[in-house]
Amino acid sequence: MVTGVLPLALEDATKIIQVFLLTGKEYVCLMTLHDSVPTTKLLSIMEEFVGEIYQKPPLRAAVKREVRKRRVYYIKDIEIDDRLVLFRVGCQAGTYIRKLVSDIGEVLGVGAHMRELRRTRAGPFTEETIYNLYDILEISQAESQEKREELVRKIIQPMESAFVYVQKIFIRDSAVNAICHGADLAIPGIVRLTDGIKVKSRHHEQGEGFGGEDREGSNASRHLSTFVEVQDKSFLTNRSPRAVSGSRLGLVGLGEEQNKVEFTCNCGNEIKVIVNPDNDNEVRCEKCGQDYRFYGRSVLRW
């Protein structure tokens, strides 16, 4: 039940798909809660999922199942009808909305699932310029060449339209040839550029395609690192039972205290963890063996 904006790139334009893959997305999502929840509690918990969140890709994901840090830009236009919650979410590329919804459910303690999803935006592409498969069928069935040309010009956009929100460097005509043959861009070759472009050393750039808007400085090149920094590997587990209902213990800190969380285990043991993206998001109490996991920015007991 997932519909909406799907940018397609044709023939030679396929090369720019990397740009789409890195652009932020916006969705309208219908969430079903598995039990009634007070509105204020629901809203405050949904608020927590805005900003940097930790997310483990689901089982059938296309990427490695390691916890990733993802940015949710906003959750807005929330409409609530008992257990049905409709909302609009803007997020970084690679945020799994179905997972986000089920994580919200876990943090609320009642559970939730995604009922319907529509992507309303992918980078510069919104529902305003959207065409469906019937419109494309019309192109192939156009009775005259003029009609076909008119439809093609209306429905198909030039590939440059994908770059609206991407940071750009405009270069001199005289630099084009060298760049196309793999030369480094030198400062004299730059005519103008958009703000917010970060310079990285060449070694860190390996394997990076476009320095798109969603790749943030050093975080981008650090594709894999550790999530829970603990010496003893026995802390890390792979079991996945359900969270104990309503067992929220702490929030991962922000600002100065970023990535740090402290909470007290049932047995009285104080646990301090430094949370980093890209690894297992579980921690086990040294004394009693109780497991804890991170959802969004919350710590839940298992």
């Binding site: 799907l6 044709l10 932020g24 995604m114 093609v152």
Partner: protein
Amino acid sequence: MSLIPREKAPWEREQSILDKIQEETDPSFGCIPEKRSLDQHVRFGLINLDKPSGPSSHEVVAWVEKMLGLKHAGHGGTLEACLQAGETQWSPACYH
């Protein structure tokens, strides 16, 4: 209301262009995007497609390729047919 530092979505940010030097490009090389021939327009084209809920993103791409007689096409960002990654059960609604 909250103290959470917000970052604006890319489409909410304002992008400013810094001019380093004034230089115009020579129009006799390359082509202005809007002025491509019909064939070129398709080959360097994008479609903002409304994906229906039944087929997978890959199926949709294959249909468009066939309809427009293209050699190759690709899509940006998979929208699952109905079973998003991570779901454990196939719902019968998927086959509608």
